[in-house]
Amino acid sequence: MALVLARRLPLRLRTGAGVQRAMLLTGLVLTGLFVLTALLGPLLAPHGYAQLRDGGGLFGSQQHPSGAHPLGTTISGYDVLSRTVWGARTALLIIVVALLLSVVPGTVLGLVSGYLGGKLDRLLVGLADALYAFPPLLLAILMSLVISGGRSSLVGGLGAAACSVAVSFIPQYFRVVRAEVIRVKGEPFVDAARVIGTGPWRIMTRHVLRNSVRTLPLIFTINASEAILTLAGLGFLGFGIEPNSAAEWGYDLNRAVADVTAGIWWTAIPPGLGIVLTVLGTTLLGEGLTDLADPRLRRRTGAPTLPTDGGGDDD
């Protein structure tokens, strides 16, 4: 799946319509910058995320932006720029963990449920409806209490946010995949496979699944955005990750509420922009990728220049 997207991307960039192309490009650049910042964080950040002093003594509390601290310091005396840069790592971690916890169970359940049908299907649909209705943030708060008593280490905070995002996204993957599976399993090529004696598991994975995941990239990116936003919301309410376990944008914004009332802007804006730009990047990427992943749209846009890759997903 990811491979297909990677192969098609340059093509799409050349052939896409103006607005779509600009959105996809912006999304790519923002997401690329975000991933780079996350990976190179230790090199880019002038200080550690929990560092309060250096050779020249304590940084000091609520210092104005200056040469030593380009974005000033927080009320607790951390360097704002460093914490914002380090925050990208935490955000990338939550995206990866939340995606893994949501995509795999959601897709498998949707596949099995849609293909087999029957009592299991009805039970799962009912359960998915109930869980879908639950505000993820509330669930995240409860989870964080369960996992770490609300005062979180890095693992506790990530776990709480990832689990709760998973609970609200497993139903979404489940629904989409199930609906697609029900549509696809009536197609002649599935019947054909069955007639020549292909086993149900092979039909499911090889024939049905591969033709049922075309709408998933959009959910991936919404899932990723929701993971960041949930972790940030958790941090903002004070149930996220402690400042000396990792840098987390939501926590920093929570500490900035009082600063804002005092007219201090530099503690609130950088971590907030971190969240906005990251979510903006993934969302734009998702919008741009949606039609890219659809084989029918793909063929139309790129037919003349298509390299020979023989429609690997259409068997």
């Binding site: 607005v19 009912g126 109930a130 969302t283």
Partner: protein, 360 residues
């Protein structure tokens, strides 16, 4: 389980049913009964999650009581009984509308829900108003200028409202309009004086705007409205973006429908075409999606209320969580679950009324 069985899209009513005209009534009953398992699942989940962390008494007072005192309190409240007994007991009292008492300030949870629920409802109404006023017209503009500059700008705006956490929007609004420009108050539901004045009224609804309007006091009304602007805007923008995109997509669909095409060929002006012909059918899905936004709105309300110290259920929830008052938390979350389940029911009924194909 039988209700779940009937609910699934696969289980369509028999043709005889529909022929008899019982379709809608039957759907209504089945769909209504379905609220029960939904709420049950959510409430059980909350109960289980809260109990996994220990009992409410130890959580709230664990570090301040001797083991003996703790034991006595636990026994008195019945927390030393088997978990299953407690669970059934909890469900039984929930069914009779008894949500228990808060541990930290010992008041009935229903009282907390009543007092602060009004504030949250008020905030949600402002937000929905903002969302409708901003989202629907902008969606119409975007659809009429499809794939041209205004459309691109508006789509970006919609994505931005989603990408910006509601509390960051709140902080920015506060920073600019309350602190830098000083136009509007930074937090709270009303100034202290007005708040006392409103609470002194003979019969209060808890919805400050209604109370202020009923008192007929001009200063109070202005004060309440001034406090409502920033929180309403912060939470409303969140939903406005969703609405904008939805109206745009649906309107583009109806604008290419044959009857709109026919009107266009009759020489109906473009503006009239959008407002009179294409919008009404395009708004139908908006009603349902608006209902589905309630879950998100409640989550957003918790954050908005915390940002603006708007003392509603979300603010109280955050407070009770901090002091580990589990009965209060359970009560508020259970209420949220019921609200979400009931709204989803209403949404489905509206959808079925509008589109007969939904019924079964």
């Amino acid at each position: 389980m039988s209700t779940l069985t009937q609910e699934t899209p696969g289980a369509v009513g028999t043709p005889a049913d529909r022929a008899a005209g019982l379709g809608f009534a039957r759907y209504l009953v089945v769909r209504f009964l379905l609220i029960i398992p939904t709420v049950l699942i959510l409430v059980s989940l909350v109960f289980l999650l809260m109990r996994l962390t220990g009992d409410p008494i130890s959580a709230a007072f664990g570090d301040r009581l001797t083991p003996d005192q703790l034991q006595a309190k636990l026994h008195q409240a019945g927390y030393d009984r088997p978990l299953l007994t407690q669970y059934l007991d909890y469900l039984r009292s929930l069914a009779t509308g008894d949500f228990g008492r808060t541990v930290t300030d010992n008041q009935p949870v229903t009282h907390v829900l009543g007092t602060y629920g009004a504030a949250t409802v008020e905030l949600a109404c402002y937000a929905l108003l903002v969302a409708l006023v901003i989202g629907v017209p902008l969606g119409m503009v975007a659809a009429s200028y499809r794939d041209r500059a205004p459309d691109a700008v508006l789509r970006l705006f919609a994505i931005l409202t989603y990408a910006t956490p509601v509390f960051f929007v709140g902080l920015l609004l506060k920073l600019v309009f309350a602190i830098r420009l000083g136009w509007l108050p930074a937090s709270g539901r009303a100034s202290t004086g007005v708040q006392l004045f409103l609470q002194d009224q003979t019969s209060t609804t808890g919805v400050y705007l209604i109370d202020a309007l009923r008192s007929g006091d001009g200063t109070a009304i202005t004060d309440v409205l001034r406090h409502a602007v920033l929180p309403g805007l912060a939470l409303g923008l969140l939903v406005a973006g969703v609405l904008l995109r939805l109206v745009r997509t649906n309107l583009i669909g109806t604008l290419s429908a044959e009857y709109v095409e026919a009107a266009r060929s009759r020489g109906v002006a473009p503006l009239r075409l959008v407002t009179r012909h294409a919008t009404r059918p395009a708004l139908i899905p908006v009603v349902t999606v608006l209902g589905l936004q309630v879950a998100g709105l409640l989550g957003g309300a918790v954050l908005t209320e915390t940002t603006f110290e708007w003392r509603g259920l979300g603010y109280e929830l955050a407070h009770y969580l901090t002091v580990r008052d589990f009965p209060a938390v359970q009560g508020i979350v259970a209420l949220f679950a019921v609200v979400v389940a009931v709204t989803n029911f209403l949404v489905d009924v509206v959808a079925a009324l509008i589109d007969p194909r939904v019924r079964y």
